[in-house]
């Protein structure tokens, strides 16, 4: 087999925090401290862990939102963490990100079509607004929204609708890798289920790969092919989802699984 779509080698992202000592000595927060994994073409890797374990930082580092301290990441064999912003820009089309908070992830001042059209023009996928609008309409339909809404502003939509628009912004570029950072955590259960189905469907249809970051083990099991469990900046266990959920090896994975409240359904309870 050829190279995986994404290969991450010993990624470290450290943050300088201001110290409190007399001279404000810098302290180092090792948010991500040596993470390696591969994501194959069309594969969904779930990254699960508790708050502060560094799982979001992995996603943010891969999209250049945080500076890498050390380590490498290869996309289709090309190292991209060390690229300049200018060099990295074409790759942004291929590596897209879905954010957690549907209320914060859309610019309140821009119309939906402006938000969705911007990446099309940046990456030269469209020349005219007519072209862009037809692409936007098609993408909105794919995520289950009425194309007519493109001339409206974000505040006119509910959280669920905004998250659909957020997903549309990602899908419109037809990326090869999508990083979903707690993409469904802010949603109520009944809406969350709609989204999990939608994301799964989009992923299957387009054959894209995905890094699905979440604290919710149920969600991760539902959507992923493989799962990595993170603790304090490091991956403690990684493997096929059935192995992780049915025969966890690491003590921490077992602790996580045991902590989840369960519902006993039906008469046998």
């Amino acid at each position: 087999m050829t190279d995986p779509l994404l290969r991450l080698v010993d990624l470290k992202t450290h943050f300088q925090t201001k110290g409190v000592g007399l001279f404000g000595e810098k302290k180092v927060l090792k948010a991500v401290d040596g993470v390696s994994f591969d994501i194959a073409q069309g594969e969904v890797l779930g990254l699960v862990g508790e708050s502060g374990c560094g799982k979001s930082t992995v996603g943010r580092t891969l999209t250049h939102l945080e500076k890498t301290t050390s380590g490498q990441a290869f996309f289709e064999g090309r190292e991209f963490l060390s690229m300049t912003p200018h060099k990295f820009r074409p790759l942004r089309r291929e590596i897209q990100m879905i954010f957690q908070d549907p209320f914060a992830s859309l610019n309140p001042r821009l119309k939906i079509e402006q938000t969705l059209g911007e990446p099309l023009f940046i990456h030269g996928l469209c020349k005219t607004w007519n072209e862009a609008r037809s692409k936007i309409a098609a993408t909105l339909e794919r995520v289950g929204m009425d194309p007519k809404i493109m001339s409206r502003h974000p505040h006119e939509f509910s959280g669920g609708q905004r998250q659909r628009i957020g997903i549309a912004r990602v899908m419109i570029l037809q990326p090869k890798l999508v990083i979903a950072d707690e993409a469904v955590s802010a949603l109520d259960v009944s809406i969350q289920a709609q989204f999990l189905n939608l994301i799964k469907k989009l992923q299957r249809d387009s054959g894209m790969s995905m890094l699905f970051i979440s604290h919710d083990l149920g969600v991760v099991r539902h959507i992923s092919d493989r799962v990595a469990v993170m603790l304090a900046g490091k991956i403690v266990e990684i493997g096929d989802k059935h192995q992780i959920f049915e025969a966890p090896q690491h003590e921490y994975t077992r602790k996580l699984l045991n902590s989840i409240p369960r519902i006993a359904i039906g008469k046998e309870a």
């Binding site: 409190v20 000592g21 007399l22 001279f23 404000g24």
Partner: protein, 315 residues
Amino acid sequence: MLAYTVKRLFTLIPTLLAASILVFLFVHLIPGDPAAILLGDTATPEEIAQLSAEMGFDRPLWIQYFLWLGNVLQGDLGISIFFREPVLAVIGSGAETSILLASMTMFWIILIGLPIGVLSATKHGTWVDQITSSGAMLAASMPTFWLGLYLIMIFSVTLGWFPSSGFPSLSDDGGITNLRYLILPSLTLAAPNAALIVRLVRASMLDVAREDHVRTARAKGLHPARVTIKHVFRNALIAVAAAFGFTFAALISEAVVTETVFSLPGIGRLVVQSILRRDYPVIQGVILVIVVLYMIINLLVDLAYARLDPRVSLK
């Protein structure tokens, strides 16, 4: 807390140095020979030559700066053109008035501003709130000198309750009763600043009242007054303390005007008169003193802030 204090002191030094450079450059930005500017129109060429040599005006600017800074650190701010006295002594003669005026004003600001602010916040949305908060805004919209002139007209000229101008020292005849000279000026100066504090206390109390921990306090079954004072007002003080530095800056600015209106022999009037007299050594000296003073006040405000908010000093 000690570590925090020392740390803040250290961060003060670069700002202070940068500000001193600006004050130093001031004289050099005025067109003409700096020595002639510092000595005034009546100076003889010999005097100018002597001062030029003393201050190194023929040498590079940065050497001049260090010569000047050296003098300043020894307390030598130059000689006033108008008074023919050392600048420090001229400033010192105005210090008593200004310090007393500032203290009395602060007294009014706290005495008037805090209670009215609390009242306005607790009566939020009622006519009491509307009157106090619009009244405060009105007070903050008045030119201080205009208010001062009318206070003089009403309380000095018509009613004769207070003297209209001047301030004999506390060590002169009358002693402590001489403070009555400062009652109108300090009230004038306090009005707009107390008004700002009223608005600030009100706004920050309303903000704090929405915070979750206030709900916790109410869930304890505490008396509403206790919740207001111990939980809302106490936490609102953090924001108020942070703004006290600004209040002090406004106070210095407005003292310039107030001292002029009431003809008080303070530092503020000295600034204006020196500008009108083109007494540059005094202008430079006063500005330096005020800037240093203002920074010290800001440091104290920061320390008070850190005391009020444990999240700042112990993290």
